[in-house]
């Protein structure tokens, strides 16, 4: 019991963030996370054979989310590319850090405007701290796609006007 709860505590929030950004409904996301852990229960005797449990559970969460989206989208085939862009978990508390709230907001907007797959990859790498190889396994894409998409995401975020201003404003003090 303790162990099962511990596993839930360890992984549920990350799975929830990931699922939420795909289905964008608190209720549905919670239900999917719950389904994932029901699956864990059902296959409990085989858990020790799983190579990377974390990647495995994210993969299940992804599949459940895509199934949900497919059921609720006029039987259109849903791929990661066709997810509508919207909410993304954003990672900063402006109060804690030197950079301004405006800059953080600007970056958040840029992230929200990333293509859906790019956004998901970015989130899994940054928010969940997953490795490129693991993200590739979860999303069933090549690690090189992850690498390229991350470079694209960072390039766009790095082009935030306020970020550029940091340097130019320093320049004007000279």
């Amino acid at each position: 019991m303790k162990a099962y709860k511990r596993l839930y505590e360890l992984l549920s929030e990350g799975l929830y963030r990931f699922t939420y950004s795909m289905v964008r409904s608190a209720e549905v996301a919670e239900e999917i996370v719950s389904d994932v852990f029901i699956k864990v229960w059902q296959i409990r005797s085989k858990l020790s054979e799983i190579d990377n449990l974390r990647v495995y559970l994210y993969t299940i969460a992804r599949n459940f989310s895509l199934n949900y989206l497919a059921r609720n989208a006029d039987s259109r085939v849903i791929g990661l590319d066709s997810l509508s862009s919207g909410f993304l978990v954003e990672g900063n508390s402006p109060a804690e850090i030197v950079i301004s709230a405006d800059l953080v907001n600007q970056m958040r907007r840029i992230i929200q405007q990333l293509p859906p797959q790019c956004r998901l990859i970015f989130q899994l790498v940054r928010e969940e701290g997953l490795k490129y190889k693991e993200v590739a396994a979860i999303l069933d894409i090549s690690p090189f796609t992850v690498r390229n998409q991350m470079a694209i995401a960072i390039q766009k975020i790095g082009a935030a006007p306020l970020l550029k201003d940091i340097f130019s404003s320093l320049g004007t003090y000279d």
């Binding site: 029901i38 020790s48 090549s142």
Partner: protein, 354 residues
């Protein structure tokens, strides 16, 4: 500075995926462009912080989950239920250890873990290199290529990562298979001589076997395996996992993989006992019915110049030839004589036009 390259390196660094060489390359770029330093530092700060405002599961989610789990198992709500959960504990405890091990080093706010000590040997355009690996295997590295391996080179397998082209003479060691990773294929070697060519700016990845036997696996398709015989040449389209063709007669080894895996034979030029594909090891620049587009890429790397083809229709015309100790103008002149184009060489740039 090539912007994409810079941001690629930045993204690798932030994600903790950068190799020592990537980090060194980034440092060099920052030396040249100190104005990027402040931006990068801010990005770094921003990357490392988590927000308390991220969506979280609502309170009591675990209890609600247990109720759903209970329903899904059709269990009575008390007694047997608890016992079942105890049964689970032992199995899951092992997993948690694994999960903890996995999560712990990458917990929020901790430093990006340093990669295992790796050795990288790379060549610039216009230069080649020969190296000996810790196991005694020899590697000739063609221009604009990079090979990375674990410094100790110990463990179950001897693994190297290749970007570009290299000729391998691998020391036999049955207990420690030698694996060459590229972006498109993985080549498992048991003691042999082979050439692997996998430039990121080319359409295809090629593996040519000279002696011995190797097994090639397509990236992302571990079930697609193919065994190469001496003088076999395997051509795989980069990024697709689809084999387009072999030079010469294409042979299908296995019916069910024929669409994905097709083989050909290497080509021998008259007078040479060495296959055209590996003549570069003998310091010969060789083309074997290659498109001008490919020829241009080879010339760029061989002479460290830029080659521009102004007319797309020229790109697919084919050329063959072997050059030894010839200068860039001599090579260009020979190609012009057989082909139907004009060229100009200005400083380090060659322009080819109809």
């Amino acid at each position: 500075m090539r912007e994409e390259q810079f941001w690629l390196l930045v993204s690798l660094k932030l994600s903790g995926e950068a190799t020592a060489e990537d980090l060194a390359a980034l440092d060099r770029l920052l030396e040249q462009h100190p104005e990027m330093g402040a931006r990068l530092e801010t990005l770094h700060d921003w990357w490392g912080h988590r927000s308390p405002s991220t969506p979280r599961l609502k309170k009591g989610a675990f209890q609600r989950h247990l109720r759903r789990l209970n329903e899904s198992e059709h269990l009575p709500s008390r007694g047997p239920w608890r016992r079942r959960l105890y049964l689970l504990t032992a199995g899951v405890a092992a997993c948690i250890t694994a999960v903890l091990l996995f999560i712990h080093p990458r917990a929020p706010g901790t430093k990006i873990p340093q990669p295992v000590a790796q050795s990288t040997v790379s060549t610039k355009k216009g230069s080649k290199s020969k190296i000996q690996l810790p196991d005694g295997s020899q590697v000739w590295l063609n221009a604009d290529s990079r090979i990375t391996y674990n410094e100790s080179f110990r463990g179950a397998a001897r693994e190297v990562q290749l970007c570009g082209e290299a000729y391998f003479d691998v020391v036999k060691d049955r207990n420690h298979p030698f694996i060459i990773h590229t972006s498109t294929i993985d080549v498992l070697v048991l003691g042999t001589v082979l050439n692997v060519r996998s430039y990121s700016n080319e359409t295809n990845t090629e593996a040519v076997l000279i002696h011995g036997s190797v097994q090639v696996t397509l990236r992302g398709h571990p079930e697609k395996k193919i065994i190469l015989q001496p003088n076999d040449k395997l051509v795989v389209q980069n990024g697709k996992g689809v084999v387009v063709s072999g030079a010469g007669k294409a042979v299908s080894r296995e019916a069910d993989t024929s669409r994905v895996m097709r083989l050909g034979k290497v080509h021998f030029q008259e007078r040479d006992s060495v296959a055209t594909e590996v003549l570069w090891v003998k310091n010969k620049l060789a083309f074997d019915q290659e498109s001008l587009e490919n020829v241009a890429l080879k010339i760029e790397r061989w002479f460290n110049v830029k080659v521009v083809i102004t007319n797309a229709s020229l790109q697919h015309t084919e050329y063959s030839g072997v050059f030894e100790d010839e200068s860039l103008p001599q090579v260009m002149e020979a190609l012009r004589l057989t082909g139907n184009f004009h060229y100009t060489i200005h400083r380090r740039e060659v322009t080819i036009r109809p």
